[in-house]
């Protein structure tokens, strides 16, 4: 807006070009230089993203920092970027998390480190592209291109069953997005434009809406992931290196959720209304069913992967209870809290899941096991680390005062207005979430030193300390004072709600 610089293009292309630069430097002996450049690029991108928040006009629902250039004029495809109060926080979350991931892989990754860093930088640019794209085709290109670096990261730096995991990941997500492409093209023929905002205004019949909704659902549900298309995630997490897990959990899952807000709800409001029972059911299954599954995991990464799915259930629940609230109370009052709570949950889960996977990474780097049974009494040898781990575990269990509480609280409050039993089932997470998280903490961190590996553990070093401190501050800050986050999004959410309240039929 007031800025002269094309900020969104910069947050998209700086890391991509920077990543290519790192690749060029790192192929040889200049490993340290490559790492330093990668970190600088990540920091620079984060710095560039700050003005997006500072200069953002939170009183406007309009797309801001808009850039519009023709790209493929023949099909009216444009290079069209812009953010509103929903996508802007996600862009900043992405640039923030990437810095941590680069730092987290600093000396841990010894095999082809430059390529590793480059992959994450390129991923960062592509993810920012997904959040900022206002053109359907541009969105799709970023969306699909994103699969490649993630595929590479798991495939090259992953664990022993990485081939199975990557293929599963690829099959699932690719299958999902093919149908999205078909929908995009169908809408292009209706609107004669690929602009997402034109899609929003597009009149569509109920059948068309339902088909489009289902096509998008397939793409987005896989990414979130929603039950029952979630089984790729635990495998992908287990095989992915720490950085891959962090990006996967913190950002990639949010892409799917973001898709519901940017595409499904505003483009097909009537279909969303028709099928909200399906979305609510799947969300509640995610919260409860997956919570029980998380309880019995023996692998820490799998446990947190299932916990992620369960937490993302709150996101999709918050999105789709609006219609039931209207039917139940005769007013849209309360619906915005559900959507806002869901968005807060997305951001918060970004911090907390990143922190949890980084904590598991800290242990894995030392003992090379993710099995809960390989640990016990870690507090004895790593007291500082244990303090961080307990803090993040509590955040994962939704303790008030941490960011993990805010979103869940808002969604539960909102769900109560829709139906007592929605809130009842969702609130079960208070018990189940605490059970699986703290039981793991008990078995890993408390008790006597379990074996000589644990006895030989060294507490976290300065680099790890900094990473975890930054995340701890974020988790606590938004737990104690979430207002800044709510303030930027509320006008955009209100606008979205007004839009979906209008039937297109």
């Amino acid at each position: 807006m007031s800025s002269e610089l094309p900020l969104l293009s910069l947050v998209v292309w700086t890391p991509i070009i920077g990543g290519l630069l790192v690749l060029a430097i790192g192929s040889g002996k200049h490993v340290l230089e490559a790492r330093v450049v990668a970190l600088l690029v990540a920091l620079l991108t984060f710095a560039i993203s700050i003005p997006l928040y500072v200069q953002f006009d939170s009183n406007s629902f309009q797309m801001q920092f808009v850039e519009l250039y023709p790209w493929i004029e023949r099909f009216n495809i444009n290079y069209h970027l812009g953010v509103d109060g929903i996508s802007m926080p996600l862009v900043i979350l992405t640039t923030f998390t990437t810095v941590l991931v680069i730092l987290a892989g600093w000396e841990v990754i010894q095999y082809k480190p430059a390529q590793y860093m480059a992959a994450f930088l390129i991923m960062e640019g592509l993810m920012n592209g997904v959040f900022a794209a206002l053109d359907g085709m541009l969105f799709y290109v970023f969306w699909e291109a994103l699969l490649i670096p993630m595929f590479v990261v798991i495939g090259i730096w992953g664990g022993p069953r990485r081939v199975y995991a990557t293929i599963k990941f690829f099959l699932y997500t690719f299958l999902g997005s093919v149908f999205m492409l078909v929908s995009l093209i169908y809408m292009y023929f209706q609107a004669d434009s690929f602009a997402i905002l034109d899609f929003h205004a597009l009149k569509l019949g109920l059948t068309a809406q339902i088909l489009i909704f289902l096509a998008f659902l397939l793409a987005f549900a896989v990414k979130v992931p929603m039950w029952p298309v979630h089984t790729w995630l635990p495998d992908a997490h287990v095989e992915a290196p720490t950085g891959g897990s962090v990006i996967l959990a913190a950002i990639m899952l949010k892409l799917g959720a973001y898709g519901f807000l940017r595409f499904s709800l505003p483009i097909t409001p009537d279909a969303s209304h028709e099928l909200d029972w399906l979305m609510i059911t799947l969300s509640l299954i995610a919260v409860v069913y997956i919570g029980f599954v998380a309880l019995v995991q023996k692998d820490m990464k799998k446990l947190i992967a299932y916990s992620s799915i369960s937490h993302m259930g709150f996101v999709t629940l918050g999105f789709f209870i609006a219609f039931t609230i209207f039917e139940n109370t005769g007013s849209w009052n309360g619906a915005a809290m559900g959507i806002e709570g869901a968005i807060v949950q997305m951001i918060s889960h970004g911090f907390i899941s990143a922190a949890m996977f980084l904590c598991i990474g800290v242990l894995y780097d030392r003992i090379h096991s993710r099995e809960i049974s390989a640990y016990g009494g870690v507090t004895n040898t790593m007291p500082t680390f244990a303090a961080f781990a307990v803090l993040f575990a509590m955040a994962n269990a939704g303790l008030p005062g941490t960011s993990g509480f805010v979103g869940e609280f808002m969604v539960i409050l909102s769900a109560f207005k829709a139906n007592f039993w929605f809130a009842f089932l969702a609130a079960l997470t208070l018990i189940i979430g605490a059970a699986y998280t703290l039981w793991m903490v008990k078995r890993v961190f408390f008790g006597e030193v379990a074996n000589e590996n644990v006895a030989a553990l060294k507490d976290i070093n300065a680099r790890e300390f900094i990473i975890l401190t930054v995340l701890a501050v974020a988790v606590l800050f938004f737990g104690i004072y979430p207002a800044p986050l709510l303030d930027v999004m509320s006008v955009s959410v209100q606008h979205l709600l007004e839009h979906i309240a209008q039937s297109k039929l």
Binding site: L295, Q297, P400, L413, I431, L438, A483
Partner: protein, 653 residues
């Protein structure tokens, strides 16, 4: 003035937090004495200012304060704020919390003297003090929930303070999860409040509540329930967790795995009374639902009676006191259910002092005995630990309601109030609290006699080292013994029958049992004289006498009873089976369900059938077209883009 007072309230809450942060985050840079000095100073500031606040609000009759500190967030037109409501109820709680906390802080210097986690412990108990203050000073439901869960967190950290002990880390997980069951109900209650009042601010909700009295909602489709009943019962489920009411009481006895100072502070005097405080605070809501009051009354009576009975068979000195806490919490709950909120809160206050005293005295015995907690291995300690002996005697007399001691006034008031109450369930409650008096006296003095009198059953080594504890331990005991004697007589008039709680606690006229009692109240001394003519006193005396006879005079009889009472004894030994049920049905059932959903749902059905089935199909297909596979990733990526543009081209032309 208001601004000035707001700064004082902020200081009261934040001073302990500062101490906690210094001792917790910077523990490695400071010495032990700096850690305890900083935290004690923080709590001392709070304690002194709390007295000032008490004087300002209660004695000088200052205006109650109700204001926001900052806006937590605004969503959907609802302002979620962090703010304070300071009226007489809050002021009283602030004094109790900060002063008991101060005593416990000082005591900790002695109790935790040799512990490697010394600084961490001080940090935790200061953090607890901050959380508890935020809870009692809140002016809205959200912050109440914040404080509610924050004290739960600190309780978790402190029960598991000795994190190497398997029993301690089992107990803290159990405590947190059971409390979460309560919080689950509590959160739904808050959601109901927000839905129907569109605000979480106490003042807004309480003033609108009477208009909602006749509203009904359908939780189960087709069945109309009173809105107020639903809200009050949901909130009360939270209170059942925090204040350990049956069946959510199971965590409290196990919480004794934590160090004794926190048993006194958290699991006797303050945190566990949060539920009592909450219901009293919500009296404008509870008064609108007779059904909810009946639930409160019955749950409280069951807890008061049946948990007291378990106190009789405990042999761990701390567990005896723990079961007595459960039983006393039941008494307070009974008072709430009988609409005698002031009596419940009054008992909360007297109990805070004498129960903290009993726990700290028990801790003193434990120090003297070198961390032996089994009362069967004690006996005759009186002559070695005279200060502990006399203070514990004062605490015990206060607990059993000996005339003139603090507990006498509060307990008698509850019994009388229940006697007058017309709320359904009051008959059973009256029976339960009366029988409870005998039982309380019996188990209290059973422990007292076994510890301090009779033959010395400890081994020679322990006896040689037995001596009175240092002044940091005995000082707090003496300091707590004073209020355990006098607070009852001082406050019974104003709190129960005066205007102490005017504006803070609301009772509808037709249920005002304390008002009725007050008609015959003629000062504390007359109350004592009246107490001499009630059955409660004689039941208490009978309990002491029975304990003396059975454990001092004829110790063979209890053994005989134990041997004869087979089934009854087994039931008591298993604590009525709650723990077994939770372990074998709830916990094991959840794990079995988890395994089932995982192995059958995820692995067999989704992955095995759908995903891998598809993959096999694809695999077969790909075998046919295998020869275009090169194994180079960039070829695939390239092919993807080609495919993408080909698709676009296909659609467009």
């Amino acid at each position: 003035m208001a601004d000035n007072m707001q700064n004082i309230y902020l200081t009261v809450a934040l001073a302990p937090l500062v101490g906690a942060i210094v001792a917790g985050l910077f523990g490695r840079f400071i010495s032990r004495s700096v850690a305890h000095t900083v935290t004690i100073a923080g709590v001392a500031v709070s304690a002194a200012l709390s007295l000032y606040v008490f004087k300002h609000i209660v004695i000088d009759g200052g205006e109650p304060f109700n204001g926001a500190v900052y806006t937590w967030m605004v969503s959907d037109g609802v302002r979620f704020e962090v703010g304070f409501l300071v009226d007489s109820l809050t002021a009283m709680m602030m004094v109790v919390v900060t002063w008991v906390s101060l005593m416990v802080h000082i005591y900790t210097i002695g109790y935790m003297h040799d512990d490697p986690g010394y600084k961490r412990f001080f940090s935790y108990i200061s953090l607890f003090t901050f959380s508890m203050l935020m809870l009692v000073m809140s002016n809205n439901f959200m912050q109440l929930f914040f404080g509610w869960e924050a004290v739960g967190l600190v309780s978790y950290l402190l029960i598991g303070f000795w994190y190497k002990r398997p029993t301690a880390i089992f107990a803290n997980l159990k405590a947190f999860l059971v409390n979460r069951v309560g919080d689950f109900g509590f959160l739904l209650g808050i959601a109901a409040v927000l839905m129907y009042f569109n605000s979480l601010d106490y003042a807004d909700v309480f003033s609108a509540a009477p208009m909602m009295a006749d509203m009904t909602i359908q939780v189960i489709p087709g069945v109309e329930w009173s809105l107020m009943t639903v809200i009050c019962i949901l909130l009360f489920i939270g209170a059942m967790g925090k204040s350990a009411q049956v069946p959510l009481h199971v965590w409290l006895p196990d919480s004794m795995e934590g160090p004794t100072p926190i048993s006194a502070l958290i699991h006797a005097a303050t945190m566990v009374t949060a539920g009592i405080f909450m219901v009293a605070r919500m009296s404008p809501l509870y008064e609108l639902s007779t059904t909810a009051l009946t639930v409160v009354l019955v749950v409280g009576s069951i807890t008061a009676l049946f948990m007291g009975i378990l106190g009789i068979i405990q042999n761990d000195i701390k567990r005896v006191v723990a079961y007595s806490t459960l039983s006393q919490l039941g008494y307070m709950t009974v008072a709430l259910g009988a609409s005698a909120y002031a009596a419940g809160v009054f008992h909360l206050m007297t109990h805070a002092f004498f129960k903290a005293l009993l726990f700290l005295a028990a801790g003193s015995v434990i120090i003297g005995m070198h961390h032996e907690q089994d009362i069967r291995k004690m006996g005759g300690i009186k002559k070695y630990m005279p200060i502990t002996y006399w203070t514990m005697l004062i605490g015990s007399l206060a607990l059993i309601g000996f005339p003139g001691f603090a507990g006498f006034f509060s307990k008698d008031a509850i019994i009388e109030a229940v006697h007058l109450s017309q709320t359904p369930g009051a008959g059973f409650a009256y029976f339960a609290v009366l029988v409870g008096v005998f039982i309380t006296a019996f188990y209290s003095f059973r422990m007292f006699f076994l510890v301090f009198h009779g033959e010395e059953r400890m081994d020679k080594h322990a006896r040689e080292h037995l001596h009175e504890t240092p002044w940091v331990v005995t000082g707090p005991l003496i300091a707590l013994a004073v209020p355990s004697v006098v607070v009852g007589a001082i406050f019974i008039g104003p709190m129960l029958f005066g205007d102490f709680f005017n504006g803070a606690i609301f009772v509808s006229p037709e249920r005002d049992v304390l008002g009725k009692l007050g008609e015959n109240f003629h000062g504390w001394f007359a109350f004592i004289l009246h107490g001499l003519a009630t059955p409660a006193l004689y039941l208490a005396m009978a309990g002491v006498g029975a304990a003396w006879f059975l454990y001092m005079k004829r110790p063979d009889i209890p053994e005989m009873i134990k041997a004869r009472a087979g089934v009854v004894y087994t039931v008591l030994e298993h604590k009525y089976g709650f723990d077994d049920f939770n372990d074998k049905v709830v916990a094991a059932g959840s794990r079995a369900l988890g395994r089932l959903l995982w192995q059958v749902g995820d692995v067999k059905l989704i992955d095995g059938f759908v995903v891998n089935g598809t993959a096999k199909g694809v695999g077969w297909l790909s075998a046919v077209i295998k020869h275009i596979q090169t194994g180079f990733l960039y070829h695939y990526a390239f092919a993807m883009f080609v495919g993408l543009f080909a698709l676009i081209a296909l659609f467009v032309f």
